[in-house]
Each structure stands twice: as structure tokens, then as C-alpha cells.
């Protein structure tokens, strides 16, 4: 009786060790690799927009294709903070400014809407700030396994996320 109980425990242990553990490690590593791809794609995309001074539909499509190639579905947030610094507002004789350096913000919907014009391009100016955030919306295998094994604090999706931001260094068309 004692022997068979031990055997059952051993089979369970063996199953976990032989299948689930390697599976989890591999799934985790896949997520890590995906995360790397996403991070580098996001940084490259952001830096490209920063140096070129515009965001084009083509660049955006390429970016979405690159991240979609990892096999997950993603939520992409692009926030563009447009600098409204009318330098001519500076007053003669002093450096006091009226309405200095105000930013107004365009969120993803407005950015994508702006891309939807004839030239498929959103022109940016020097001083604008672009932030790109990417997060997965599906549950990855690693997430599923984790939920199955230690479902203590609720479900996790196996977060693959990346964020990059920076100031635009070139005004489009100048």
C-alpha cells in the first residue's frame, strides 16, 4: 500500500519534472525572446521616427508586421506630444514667455487618423515627444502554464511589454 502511494507520488513528480518543467522553461524563454524582439522593434521604430521627423503609414505597418510575426496579438499605443512653443511670444527686453512650451497630446486614435490622409504621413516638429507602448493581449503558453500551476493570485497573461520614447530631433520638411 505504502509502496503504491510512493509510486503515484513519484509518477506525479516525474511528470512535472519531465514535462511541465521543461515546457515551462521553454515557454518562458520563448516569451523572453519575443519580448526582446518587441523591445528592439519598439526602440528602433521610435528612434527612426525621432530622427526622420515624421511617422508614416509604411513605417507603422512595418512595425506592426514585425511585432505580429512573433505570433501573439498586441495592443499598440502611440502617444505624440506636440510642442506648442511659439518662440515669437518671447517679450522684448526679457526672457519671460507668455504661454510657454505647452504640449498637446495626440493619442493612438488621433495619430492613426492623422496617418489616414493622402500622403499617409504625420509630420512632426523638433521638440515633439513620441512614446510607443506595446503590450500583448493574448495569453501566451507560458502564461497558461503559470495560471494552471500556481493559480494563487489570479490569472496573468504572461506580459510581454515594451516601451520606448524620446524627443523628435528633426522638423519634417526642413
Amino acid at each position: 500500500m505504502g509502496d503504491s502511494a510512493i509510486t503515484i507520488v513519484a509518477i506525479f513528480l516525474a511528470a512535472i519534472l519531465m514535462f511541465i518543467f521543461p515546457l515551462m522553461t521553454m515557454a518562458d524563454k520563448t516569451d523572453d525572446a519575443t519580448s526582446l524582439t518587441i523591445k528592439s522593434a519598439t526602440t528602433e521604430f521610435t528612434n527612426q521616427v525621432r530622427t526622420k521627423g515624421y511617422l508614416s503609414q509604411e513605417d507603422y505597418d512595418n512595425f506592426v508586421l514585425t511585432i505580429a510575426a512573433t505570433g501573439n496579438s498586441y495592443d499598440t499605443d502611440i502617444t505624440v506630444m506636440k510642442l506648442d512653443a511659439n518662440p515669437a511670444k518671447k517679450v522684448q527686453g526679457s526672457t519671460v514667455t507668455i504661454g510657454e512650451n505647452v504640449y498637446y497630446v495626440m493619442y493612438t486614435t488621433q495619430v492613426l487618423e492623422a496617418l489616414n490622409n493622402t500622403s499617409k504621413l504625420l509630420a512632426l516638429s523638433e521638440g515633439d515627444i513620441i512614446t510607443v507602448k506595446v503590450e500583448n493581449t493574448n495569453t501566451t503558453i507560458s502564461g497558461q502554464l503559470r495560471n494552471f500551476l500556481y493559480k494563487v493570485t489570479g490569472n496573468t497573461d504572461g506580459i510581454i511589454a515594451a516601451e520606448a520614447s524620446g524627443m523628435v530631433t528633426k522638423t519634417y520638411g526642413s
Binding site: 523572453d32 528612434n47 506648442d84 511659439n86 522684448q92 522638423t171 520638411g173 526642413s174
Partner: protein, 649 residues
């Protein structure tokens, strides 16, 4: 064997493999993450360097003169290193700490580029005392054999062309626009000439009609002139920009009462001797020493010089001169020559009978310096360099669209710029790695960045050798400088306009609201005394440091007096300067390839304002070929600027 033993063995085998693999992958991920972080840091520091360069050049009237440029670049490089060391948390230590990782910073200019990189100081001297080898120099300052950081000699965007059957052996220096310099032998005659090149006698180029010149539907005549005005500190002055330097007219400088009457272009003009002419010198103060003003006690030459400056400021005809000289140069270069009395920059009038015949020049005529065998540069070379042949064999100056972005010329110009930068930079980076422990190669510059480098003044920085885990970092960053007087681009001209509420604003020429009933109207010449196309740099605020006793005054040069005598600066348009909502996008696959094709169908007011501004700024901009020859041309008597303002006593 029992199941338990099997699983233990399995674990013993699998566990180390998994651990090593996961360690390896996380290592790779880590280095990639650091690499991306470094990329961003490098980009930010390069941007800081460009910003420093801009600030220095805007507030310095001599920002485009070579010696001053070198100073500004060195200052920008030092900003770059400071910024980089604080980005890498080394601030407070020696700021040179990052220098051993920066293999080169390239500063591209209008007609060439500087490389800031380490070099071996080859100071050689005769030892004062041969016995103990003691030196007469202060070795703490400069010492032979030391590795130092500094600017290497300027490299021009040059290409040599040799073709014995066409009797060609000369060098062309290209720039970021359609300005070229030719030096060398054509038909066994030595030619040294330079100018803006356009297609001529067709609708896309410059046409001549009598003494007038027509470009894109706008006629430029000798009799039309402008009087440019802008504020310096609190006062509005008339000025003219000559070789990149602005000369202002001060109507009440000298304590003199006499007047002088001369005849210019058939009109009598009376010049009060009170008038002085000044420029802003490198300390920011007004300097009146360029001319002595007018006085009967001056030498005649001194008075004549002053009068020409006076005429150039009051009756500026730079726009006309620009198109006239461009037409004449283009006629010589590609239009078969035949301009009587035309002299090149050496003053030689015995030029080849059929002009320089550049329209016969093919890309396959390009060769390497010092090489007489043909085709070298064309077929060439190492894998790191994009050779000229890749672009195909064609006649460089053929077609009717020179000066436009679609032309063969433009394609070849970009190819040469890229070739020149790549060849020198690979060598520079290779020689950097010879002093380092690892072998470095130039990283591949993306096509997008090349496009930027070929069209704008840029800074490109290269950083390599920092350990980032599994490998060593090797990256670059390129940032363009769009605010400088170095190079007048077609998008560098803004238009002064009035909006519906009567506010005076400035906007881009491709603002869709311009000259529309519900938009802006171009401020006419009759209101200003000059055409409303203005260089965008003039809208930057400036410092007046001429009075040291009080605080530095910050002012806007482009201002106007509104009702109630209140001085108001022109405001940037919200639809094209601050925002971009109403800008017609140009280039990059848009409907219009360049500004010229956009303006083709624009209202005549806008076109006139734009082209007068564009041509005036280009004609007045600094050019190394014209250095110090404002008055009488160079030592060969080749004329420039003030020689076009001849008068009768």
C-alpha cells in the same frame, strides 16, 4: 531500473542543459537591451551636439566663416562628450572618459565634412640640445607621438573625372545643393569656375529674355531692388547680407553734415555723410570699422567702397544677380558656352569655345585621385563602400531638370557624397581600431540616414568597444541640423503674411492657407520695401550684447510696429510653423517632389515672394570661393557682390 532512477538521470542531464541555455539566452537578451539603451543615449548626445552647434552659429554673425566654424564644431564635440559622459553616469569624472569609445564624429557641412577623431600628434622639432634630447617646446602642451582628439582636415565632396577622348581631366566639388565648383583641364585649357547650376532655356530651368531672367514663371529684372530691414536691439536697421555677413546701415553715426550725390542706374541719389555701416562682430558688439563712411577728407577709394555698400543695402538686387550668374555659369557648363566676355574665377576669358561640355560627362569618367587609369572609382572597390557603378552609367548633367530632386545630377551628387564619406570614414575608424584592442568596422548606415546625410548638414557619431555582455557595442547615430546659414535649402524660406484677423505672421511657403480667401495673404512688397520671403534663421531670437553695462537684451529681429507704436514680433503660423496641419507635404512619394514643382501652379504673389527671398539669401550666403572678395572680387579680379553696384560720381 526503477522509474525514480530514470527520472533522476533525466533531471541530471536536462537540468544543466536548460540552465546553460537559459543563461545564454538571458545574456543575449541583456546585451541586446543594453545595446538599445546605448543607441538611444548616443542619439541623445548627438542631438545635444547639434543643438550646441546651432546655438553658437545663430548668435554669431561669423558662424559660417571657416575658422569660426572649426571653433563651433570643437565646442559641439565637447558638448557631445559631456553629454555622453553624463548619459553614461560618468559626469564629474574626467569628461574625456568616453573618448576612447568614440571612434569618430562626422560633421557634414555644405560642401564637405569634418571628422573629429583621435590622431597621432606628429610634432617634429629639432632638439635644442642633442646630448640630452631636451626640447625647446613646452611639452605639457603638445608632444610628438601623443594620441590626441581633434578635427581632421576638411574633406570636400570631390570627384575627379578623366576621359582623354573627351579631353576631360578635372575635379568637381559638389555641395548639398546645385552649387558646383569645377577645377581642371577641359580641352587642354585650365578652368576654375563655380556657380549654381540649372537647366537653361527650358520651362524647368532659367530662361533669358533680353536682360531679364525667368525662373518658374517669375521674371527677375535688373531694375528691381529691395531694402531689407530688421531689428538689432531696439532699432530697425536696413541691411544687406554679403558673403554670410549682415551689414547694417546706421543713418546717424558720424558727426558729419556734408552730403554726396551720385548717379546710380540713371537716378540721382543723395547720400548723407552721417551714415555709418556696421556689422555685428564676434563679441556681439556693433563694429563700424568695415568702411570709413563718406567724407571729403577720405581717399576716393574709401568713399567709393562706402558708397557701394550703401547702394547694396539700399538697392539690393541679390535675387537678380543670383539668377543672372546661375544662368551664365550654366550656359558655360552645359549650354555650349558662347557668352562674350565671360571670365572664370581665375579671370581667364580664353575659355573652351563650346563651354565646359559637362553635358557629355558620364558617371564612368569618374576616377580616383592620383590615378590615370580610367574607371577606377566606377568599378571599385571594397565591400564596405557603395561604388558608383551601382547607380548605373548615365550622363550626369543631361536632362532638363538639373536643380530638381529627380535629376541625374541629383542622383550622382548623392552617390559622390556617400562615396566620399564612406571611403574616408572606413579608414578613420580602421585607424582608430588599430590603437584599440579589438578590431572595429564601420557600422552599416541605414538608407534613411543616408538620405538625410546627403541633403542636410548633419552630425554622425560612432561609438564602439564598450562591453555589453556577450559582445562589444558598435553603433552610430545621425542627427540633422536644419537651422543654420551654412546651406540654404528650398524649405529654409518662410513667408510673411497677414491672417484673417489682421495679425502679421510667418508661415511656410507650402502652407495651404496662403493666398486663399479664408487663409493668409502674402504681405506685399509695397508695404515692406522688400519681398516677404525671409530666411527662417531670421525668426530666431537673438541677444544684443553691444551694451555691456546693462543686461543682455533678447530681441526678435523680425518684428514690426503695430498700432500705438508697440513693437510686435511676427508670430509663427499655427498651421505650418507650430503645427503641421495645413502644410502640403513635399517629397518622399508625395504629389509634389520638391518645392519648385509645388510652387509652379501657386499664385504669382507667393511665387514672387518666395523666389526673391530664396535667391537673395543664396546670393548673400557665405561661400568659401568668395571669401573676402566682397568688394572687388578675388586677386584675379573676379567680381563678386559689390562689383554689381557700379555708379557714376
Amino acid at each position: 531500473m526503477k522509474l525514480q532512477s530514470l527520472s533522476v538521470i533525466f533531471i541530471i542531464i536536462v537540468l544543466p542543459i536548460t540552465m546553460v541555455l537559459s543563461e545564454y539566452i538571458s545574456n543575449l537578451i541583456e546585451s541586446r537591451e543594453i545595446e538599445m539603451l546605448y543607441d538611444t543615449k548616443l542619439l541623445n548626445s548627438t542631438y545635444d551636439a547639434i543643438k550646441a552647434y546651432q546655438l553658437n552659429t545663430i548668435n554669431n554673425a561669423f558662424g559660417d566663416v571657416t575658422t569660426q566654424k572649426v571653433n563651433d564644431i570643437e565646442a559641439a564635440a565637447s558638448t557631445f562628450f559631456n553629454s555622453l559622459s553624463s548619459n553614461f553616469n560618468y559626469a564629474g569624472y574626467d569628461s574625456n572618459v568616453m573618448q576612447e569609445y568614440v571612434s569618430a564624429i562626422v560633421f557634414t557641412m555644405n560642401d564637405g565634412y569634418y571628422i573629429f577623431s583621435p590622431y597621432t600628434n606628429t610634432l617634429t622639432e629639432l632638439k635644442e640640445n642633442t646630448e640630452d634630447d631636451s626640447s625647446s617646446y613646452d611639452e605639457s602642451y603638445s608632444k610628438g607621438g601623443e594620441i590626441k582628439d581633434g578635427l581632421k582636415p576638411y574633406v570636400y565632396y570631390n570627384c575627379r573625372y578623366v576621359n582623354p577622348s573627351k579631353e576631360f581631366d578635372f575635379v568637381i566639388t559638389y555641395t548639398l545643393d546645385n552649387y558646383i565648383t569645377i577645377q581642371g583641364m577641359i580641352n587642354n585649357i585650365y578652368v576654375y569656375d563655380c556657380g549654381y547650376l540649372y537647366s537653361i532655356d527650358n520651362d524647368d530651368g532659367i530662361k533669358k529674355s533680353g536682360e531679364n531672367y525667368i525662373y518658374n514663371g517669375i521674371t527677375f529684372t535688373n531694375s528691381q531692388s529691395e531694402e531689407m530691414k530688421e531689428y538689432v536691439g531696439d532699432t530697425l536697421y536696413s541691411y544687406a547680407k554679403i558673403n554670410g555677413k549682415k551689414y547694417y546701415l546706421d543713418p546717424n553715426y558720424y558727426d558729419r553734415t556734408e552730403t554726396k550725390t551720385i548717379k546710380y542706374e540713371g537716378n540721382s541719389i543723395t547720400i548723407p555723410a552721417r551714415t555709418g555701416i556696421f556689422y555685428i562682430d564676434s563679441t556681439g558688439a556693433k563694429n563700424y570699422n568695415q568702411t570709413k563712411g563718406y567724407s571729403s577728407s577720405n581717399l576716393k577709394a574709401e568713399n567709393d567702397e562706402f558708397i557701394r555698400y550703401y547702394l547694396a543695402i539700399k538697392y539690393n538686387k541679390s535675387a537678380y544677380e543670383y539668377f543672372k550668374k546661375a544662368y551664365e555659369f550654366s550656359k558655360m557648363a552645359i549650354g555650349g558656352g558662347g557668352i562674350s566676355g565671360y571670365a572664370d574665377k581665375t579671370g581667364n576669358t580664353a575659355l573652351p569655345t563650346h563651354g565646359y561640355r559637362l553635358n557629355e560627362l558620364s558617371t564612368s569618367d569618374a576616377v580616383i585621385y592620383g590615378s590615370t587609369s580610367n574607371y577606377d572609382i566606377y568599378k571599385n572597390l571594397s565591400q564596405d563602400i557603395t561604388n558608383i557603378q551601382e547607380y548605373g552609367e548615365f550622363n550626369i548633367f543631361s536632362g532638363n531638370d538639373i536643380g530638381k530632386s529627380s535629376s541625374n545630377f541629383e542622383q550622382h551628387r548623392k552617390a559622390i557624397i556617400r562615396y566620399v564619406i564612406e571611403t574616408n570614414l572606413t579608414t578613420s575608424i580602421a585607424s582608430f581600431s588599430s590603437s584599440a584592442s579589438t578590431d572595429f568596422k564601420m557600422p552599416k548606415i541605414s538608407e534613411d540616414d543616408w538620405e538625410m546625410i546627403e541633403n542636410d548638414v548633419c552630425a554622425i557619431s560612432f561609438m564602439q568597444g564598450m562591453s555589453i555582455g556577450s559582445k562589444q557595442y558598435n553603433g552610430y547615430a545621425a542627427v540633422s541640423n536644419t537651422l543654420g546659414a551654412e546651406h540654404i535649402d528650398e524649405s529654409d524660406i518662410y513667408i510673411l503674411a497677414t491672417d484673417l484677423n489682421g495679425n502679421k505672421i510667418y508661415c511656410k511657403p507650402n502652407d495651404k492657407k496662403l493666398e486663399k480667401t479664408d487663409g493668409y495673404s502674402v504681405i506685399p512688397y509695397s508695404q515692406l520695401g522688400y519681398y516677404s520671403g525671409i530666411l527662417k534663421l531670421n525668426f530666431e531670437q537673438k541677444q544684443d550684447a553691444s551694451n555691456n553695462d546693462v543686461d543682455t537684451i533678447i530681441y526678435q529681429p523680425m518684428s514690426y510696429t503695430a498700432t500705438g507704436n508697440i513693437r510686435t514680433p511676427y508670430l509663427g503660423s499655427y498651421t505650418s510653423i507650430m503645427g503641421t496641419s495645413d502644410v502640403e507635404l513635399i517629397g518622399g512619394g508625395n504629389e509634389y517632389a520638391d518645392m519648385h514643382s509645388y510652387l509652379k501652379n501657386s499664385p504669382i504673389n507667393l511665387k514672387t515672394a518666395y523666389y526673391n527671398g530664396f535667391a537673395r539669401e543664396r546670393w548673400g550666403s557665405y561661400n568659401v570661393n568668395n571669401i573676402n572678395y566682397e568688394l572687388n572680387g578675388n586677386s584675379n579680379g573676379c567680381d563678386y557682390f559689390l562689383n554689381d553696384y557700379q555708379f557714376v560720381q
